[in-house]
Symmetry: C2
Subunit: 342 residues, 2 copies
């Protein structure tokens, strides 16, 4: 049978080094307050015993978990997963762990309580604008100061820190590009309306159309849900119209992929018969056939900046009364799914 040695505590290390637990603690957190000789003895004892700090005890005492909570609507989505990866890496650099909550839509109040208020996490990185902000405000009103950064998807509240991209500008940029290629019959696949990013992109689309002096035709507008299936549904919606648009601006790459896939079944070729421009530049976009023209979202940067901001707020190295608002730029990546008309 395996002998289970208890994991050593700070007391064990103290005994081993013939000092008090207080001294061991000091060696670990403020070494300059301890003499060189004891410091070395303690370090040796730490090595010998294989000591690791008990985080639960530390969290209890310091009221800080050195952990952030990342909440996203669906981690399974490749768009989010890249961000998550960036968040985890950046958090690790600052010595923080990351708890991940997915599919948070169900009962936001519950997990907010469960995680944040129970000292499991020191702050919240929210990647879901569709969350009912009432819950957040409820906490706020109760006087709980909740370190929170809304990332990627804006929450329409200037008090809430945010790291987002220039969705509106990017959308109108996409339309201008299509216009430059000679397109005038332009459709748009919208994302789910609960997302603020969706609405921003829609506004940008309308602005772009207006600037170009083009009409927005309702039969060329389709509301999807940011997945490939809804790209298919959009294709079928467009096919049912009297006339097809010659170009479609899609709210994200996955819907673009679904759209192209479905249209191809009807022998409608992209980019020959229809130009398609996506949004995000997910990994597969450049290897798809045709390689997708898309508005690239700096996903790594979103994750990194958001994490950095949140930890700054948690650690109080940033003034509390001035909300942080970072807007990152999306770049147009021209590939082969768009083409000059004619």
């Amino acid at each position: 049978m395996v002998v289970i040695k208890k994991t050593p505590t700070i007391q064990d290390v103290a005994r081993h080094a013939s000092v008090s637990a207080a001294t061991v603690s000091r060696v670990l957190s403020s070494p300059e307050r301890v003499s060189e000789t004891t410091r070395e003895r303690v370090h040796a004892a730490v090595r010998d015993t294989g000591y690791t700090m008990n985080q639960a005890a530390r969290s209890l005492r310091l009221k800080a978990a050195r952990t952030i909570l990342l909440a996203a609507p669906n981690i399974g989505n490749p768009f989010y997963s890249t961000i998550v990866d960036a968040v985890i890496r950046e958090a690790a650099v600052r010595g923080y762990s990351v708890l991940v909550a997915s599919r948070i839509g169900d009962d936001p109040n519950r997990w907010l309580r469960d995680y944040l208020l129970s000292n499991r996490a020191d702050g919240l990185l929210l990647f879901d604008g569709s969350l009912d902000t009432g819950a957040l405000h409820g906490l706020w009103d109760d006087g709980v100061s909740l370190p929170l950064v809304a990332a990627y998807d804006e929450i329409p509240d200037p008090q809430i820190n945010s790291v987002i991209t220039d969705n509106r500008l990017a959308a109108s940029r996409a339309i201008r590009y299509l216009r430059e290629l000679g397109h005038s019959k332009i459709g748009h696949i919208i994302g789910p309306s609960r997302n603020q990013s969706t609405n921003e992109r829609l506004v940008g689309f309308r602005e772009g159309m207006h600037e170009a002096g083009l009409q927005v035709r309702p039969e060329w507008l389709f509301q999807g849900s940011y997945n490939m299936e809804s790209g298919i549904a959009a294709a079928e919606w467009f096919l049912a119209a009297d006339e097809l648009p010659t170009a479609v601006f899609c709210g994200n790459d996955e819907m673009a992929i679904g759209l192209i896939h479905r249209l191809r079944r009807e022998k409608i070729d992209c980019p020959l018969d229809i130009s398609v421009i996506g949004f995000d530049d997910i990994a597969v976009a450049r290897y798809f056939d045709p390689p997708l023209t898309t508005m690239r979202q700096p996903r790594e940067d979103i994750g990194k900046m958001a994490t950095r901001s949140l930890i700054d707020i948690i650690e109080g190295t940033v003034p509390e009364n001035e909300p942080i608002h970072v807007v990152l730029t999306s770049d147009l990546v021209v590939r082969e799914s768009t083409r000059r008309i004619g």
Copy 2:
């Protein structure tokens, strides 16, 4: 200025309900030991105060964090992200949180210590067979019993619990299928060799070839790294050979996508000129052009089963001396990237 109310403790609830903290604790964990009237009073007090248990204190006392650590080589990869999603959902059902560590390759010893031994997590879900098992054994030998489940990628140690798929069988199955379509010139893109799954698939490939009475030709074997870029590299490797294979079995879908993409640039069409079969069935596989024939991995099930097993082990509801070994079945999904020869 916002008044910061301290988050209520169990003491506050006790005072509010005019009982002792012990009673409140009992109401929350073993309600049947408390009389109905006090139970109601306490519940009311919990509601009134908005009490949430301090997890740090609870973890410290119970030496259990109700948290599992999920470690994967790269969360950004869409293959893993689906699994992660399933893990988080299943863990939530059992009342567990999930800490996620990505890019763990760098210093396994460090994060093992940091997370597991420091009472931050009660068990480890390891999605990376490339991890040096020495580190794990080191802990084991030190007498620390570490609830561990290796998922998806096997660790070659019968003592370690695992939830994997039938990689070898699936690979030989893929070859048999290609053989049925009349192919005899079959290549293979291997994954990174540190992964056990890769090796199993390679063995299955060899077995399948042997059963079919076919030679494995080294110029039709390429070692990639499970990403699209290495699919491209593989294409270039094959193009450099005297002759192209008529079918390629890819270690995963992403390499298949890269391969098809690159070959198309050379006017080599899939499936007309070459059949390609992938592995995993990632989300984009069915919408790719051509839709990918692939060996589907039951990713949701992997995540679910692994999580379930790990929590069973943590909670001791499963005999300790009998390692768990679950092998899930991969299914052949026939789409359009493969084709009868001739």
